[in-house]
Structure formats: structure tokens, C-alpha cells
């Protein structure tokens, strides 16, 4: 089974039915899979804080949401995470492409990569880092944990997890 399909299977199995995405090369296969699933309403957003607003509304409307984005978005969404998702105590799985790690070809991506885990730690956001494909076996448990504790939870997926970037 492809890793893209496995990730989306886990999302569907955990009742996630509202997914917002901001495009990403590494996550393109997951986004395509999300879009293809009849169980999921896929709503692309123009910026990640907007996406978190959509997810907050969807959750209050009775759906389990998720957001798919790049780690640069952590810089965009700190205020939304603090004053909306965390303040009102809402669950939000964040499946994040961890750009700027090993095998990264674009130097500027490293500039946010070095801040990513520090920012997530400062925000007290539970954070999981998928480095090898087998790490994805924890996704099901992470999703259950997210909806158990009603918190935003970060799942960082780096280039090694995806089998390289730019040289695949």
C-alpha cells in the first residue's frame, strides 16, 4: 500500500471528514488522495490560519477536521493556534511537511526548519516526527490521541520519510 493511501486510510478510520490543505510537493500525493475520498470534504485554503478557522468551524459543526501544510506555516499560525485552537480547546491534527531537513535542496527552507520544533515546543504542542516510513505506523494512535485531548498536534514528515526531495 502506498504511504499516501495509508495516511488517508488512518484519517478516514479516525472519522476525519473535513480536511483543509495548502499545497506542498511532498504532500501532493496525500492531498490527491484526500481529494479523491468520498468520506472527506476537501477544502483548499489560501493561508494556513484561514484553514485553521475553517477547521474550528467544522469541528463545532460536528466534523473531525485536519490540516495539511508545510512547516513554514507554523510561523504563520502561532496566533491562531494560541487564541483559537488552544484557547477554545479544539482538536486539530496537523500533518506537516517538514521542509529544510536532510536532503533539502532549497537553502531558505532551512531557515524555518531550525525554528520549527522550538516553536512547537514553546506552544506546548505535542509533536511527532516521521523520519522513516515505518514511523507512520503511529499515525492511528496519534490521531486518537489528538481527539482524546482536544489539542492541536503536529506530525512532522521530513524528506527522508518521503524518500528524498528533488532526487526521488
Amino acid at each position: 500500500m502506498s504511504i499516501d493511501k495509508k495516511i488517508v486510510d488512518d484519517m478516514v478510520a479516525n472519522g476525519i471528514s473535513f480536511v483543509t490543505t495548502v499545497p506542498c510537493k511532498q504532500l501532493a500525493g496525500v492531498i490527491e488522495e484526500v481529494d479523491a475520498r468520498p468520506e472527506i470534504f476537501h477544502i483548499p485554503s489560501n493561508k494556513e490560519d484561514e484553514g485553521m478557522g475553517l477547521c474550528a468551524g467544522a469541528w463545532m459543526g460536528g466534523k473531525r477536521p485536519a490540516i495539511i501544510m508545510q512547516n513554514t506555516a507554523i510561523g504563520v499560525t502561532i496566533n491562531t493556534l494560541a487564541t483559537l485552537t488552544q484557547y477554545y480547546r479544539m482538536p486539530l491534527p496537523m500533518i506537516i511537511s517538514y521542509r529544510g531537513e536532510l536532503r533539502e535542496p532549497v537553502a531558505c527552507q532551512v531557515e524555518m526548519a531550525v525554528h520549527t520544533k522550538a516553536l512547537l515546543a514553546q506552544m506546548h504542542i505535542p509533536t511527532y516526527h516521521f523520519h522513516k516510513e515505518s514511523d507512520a505506523s503511529e499515525l492511528d494512535a496519534i490521531l486518537k490521541y489528538t481527539f482524546m485531548c482536544n489539542k492541536p498536534v503536529a506530525i512532522l514528515t521530513d524528506a527522508s520519510f518521503w524518500g528524498g526531495y528533488g532526487d526521488q
Binding site: N46, E50, M52, G53, A58, M60, G61
Partner: protein
């Protein structure tokens, strides 16, 4: 009319609907005028009233009204294409356009200068965009609810604020009672 006068006038219409209310004075005013479980007050996160309301409308069948401001829509201008391209006929975005950032001291917004939010909304693909003056808000809002078509209303009104206290209700309480009202 200023925003608080409009909210007072349309409160009987809002009372029966799910309302997502913008940060700052709009939420404080609605809280003072008609606090009830069907109001979701934003205590922070400027700009996301329209996004929260759209997500809610897309996820359940009841009518949802997002009360937003011209300044807040400008903060999250990317919301308008998302709204246009994800039609929810139970969704109304009501932009109270007083041409100023009311909660921070009435500094002028670009919507009070050359930018026309109704034209921006139309250019983004929103199909039912209605512009009205303050005194017509109730009539226009009721018509939008009755139409069962996704509608963006731009209410042109005066800039100005009343003095009132901040909302001290716990955010989790606001959210919890709102979710119960949504599900009821």
C-alpha cells in the same frame, strides 16, 4: 447608524440563528444586547470569523451568519475566494463596513478609502453580493436567510463605538454551549 445600533436592531433576527461574531467590540456588543448559546464570540484571532462560519456552515445544515468587519475581511482577504468556491447555501457573511478599525480606535481602513469589498467579493466569484445601507440591514438579512442562498452582505454604516465591558466568559464555556446549540 453605528455598528452597535445595527446589532441592536437586527438582534431579533440573529436570535434564532447560529452567529459567529467578530473579535473585539462586535462580540462585546452582541454579548451585551442578546447573549445566548447560539452566539460564538471570538475573543481573539482577528480575521477568522468568516472562515469559522464557513467551516461550520459546510459541516451541518443550520443557517450560519458570520458577522465580520471591513478591517477583519481585509486581514483575511483570502477568505473570499474560498467562500466563493465552496458554496454553502446556509451561510451568510455580513460585513459591517464602517470604513474603520473600530476596536482599536477608529483608524481608517482601505475599505473606507478606494477599496470596495463588494467588488472584491464579486471578483472572487461570490454570486450573491448585496450592498445595503445601515437602516436596511434587517430587511436585507432576513431576505438572505429566506433565500437559502449563500449571500455576502456589505452593510455601509457610520464609524463609532460605545463603551462597554470586555467578555469575561471562559472560551471553553462559549464553545461548549455553542456546540450544544449547534447539535440541538
Amino acid at each position: 447608524m453605528i455598528r452597535s445600533e445595527i446589532l441592536r436592531e437586527i438582534a431579533p433576527i440573529l436570535h434564532d440563528q447560529l452567529v459567529v461574531c467578530n473579535i473585539g467590540l462586535p462580540s462585546q456588543e452582541l454579548h451585551m444586547i442578546d447573549d445566548n448559546a447560539k452566539n460564538f464570540y471570538m475573543l481573539g484571532t482577528m480575521g477568522l470569523s468568516s472562515s469559522i462560519g464557513l467551516g461550520l456552515a459546510l459541516s451541518q445544515p443550520k443557517t450560519v451568519i458570520s458577522i465580520d468587519g471591513d478591517g477583519s475581511v481585509l486581514t483575511n482577504l483570502g477568505t473570499l475566494p474560498t467562500i466563493a468556491n465552496n458554496v454553502a447555501d446556509n451561510y451568510i457573511l455580513m460585513i459591517i463596513d464602517n470604513g474603520s478599525y473600530g476596536s482599536t480606535g477608529d483608524q481608517p481602513t482601505y475599505a473606507g478609502k478606494k477599496t470596495k469589498l463588494e467588488k472584491v467579493a464579486e471578483a472572487c466569484g461570490c454570486e450573491n453580493v448585496v450592498v445595503c445601507i445601515d437602516v436596511d440591514t434587517g430587511k436585507v438579512l432576513q431576505a438572505a436567510i429566506d433565500s437559502k442562498k449563500m449571500t455576502v452582505i456589505v452593510v455601509k454604516c457610520d464609524s463609532g463605538n460605545i463603551k462597554l465591558p470586555v467578555i469575561t466568559m471562559d472560551p471553553v464555556v462559549i464553545r461548549d454551549r455553542f456546540m450544544k446549540a449547534v447539535a440541538s
